[in-house]
Symmetry: C2
DNA sequence: CTAAACTGTAACAAATTTTATTACAATAAA
DNA sequence: TTTATTGTAATAAAATTTGTTACAGTTTAG
């Protein structure tokens, strides 16, 4: 359940924060991240859907932050890219005839949610502006 | 990068806790989890390496908890199966000519470590005995 | 007003990771 | 001494992630 989407999104957002009043193209962003521009565009679509970036089509188009970096929490970024249970899960259905198999998915999900809450709480303490300040 | 290893390990450990004074075979465990017995054996090797279970070879062999369930923290389980950065990472090297690309891996790693510490702290508050009690 | 530089999106391909399978030697109890 | 089991390797299959190509649609710059 862990892929590179959080890190790609953070990279995109940090670049956008570093160039306010400008729109950055997917090609430029891809060049810094060192991935394919189409992946950048897909990730931007997701970030836009979550209200973090905005884009301009056409010539000299590109993307920019949809709101001030001070108002973007790292937990917002996490939630935008989150897909599966943080602790992972077995793909197969456990045996329902077994007392443990019957209930384990439910109990592991509860646990996963608690753990994820702790993570999100931690991430919500840092803004994109804070993160971006670390670069110099 | 999220796989099912934490959930498989938790399932194994819970089953072992539910049958104290017994050794359980990989076939039996696999039947409850609904995965291949070889995967169970591999996971058990890992849990053993981390001091959580012990095994007996030969006929009527199998596995059992290496220490009381009250003394096994869920953070111990997490640490036993942990492999990559919890927030994921880009496989490619970011562009070192870009001020952001040059430093982002370091900053994301720091962030990931902080977040993981919060998770581990949370997980350390529950023991295997606590978890197992939820099943009835 | 049209060519150029973009985004948006689909379709597909390649690479990587995860999970499953088969096979069998080593071990130990029944 | 047969049988049930672990340990382990080798390989295959499936799933997921990442990359590529292609092109229609949009907008601005010249």
């Amino acid at each position: 359940m862990n892929n590179g989407r959080f890190s790609i999104s953070m990279h995109i957002l940090t670049l956008l924060e570093k160039s306010p009043n400008e729109v950055l193209s997917s090609d430029y962003l891809a060049g810094s991240i060192n991935i394919n521009p189409v992946l950048v565009r897909k990730e931007i679509i997701n970030l836009r859907k979550h209200g973090l970036v905005a884009s301009k089509e056409g010539k000299s188009g590109g993307s920019y932050l949809a709101r001030p970096a001070k108002e973007i929490l790292l937990s917002d970024v996490y939630e935008a890219v989150r897909q599966n249970s943080i602790l992972g899960q077995n793909k197969n259905k456990p045996n329902p005839k077994c007392i443990v198999g019957k209930q384990i998915d439910e109990h592991l999900n509860n646990l996963s949610n608690e753990v994820e809450d702790a993570m999100i709480k931690k991430l919500s303490k840092t803004t994109l502006a804070d993160f971006s300040k670390k670069f110099n």
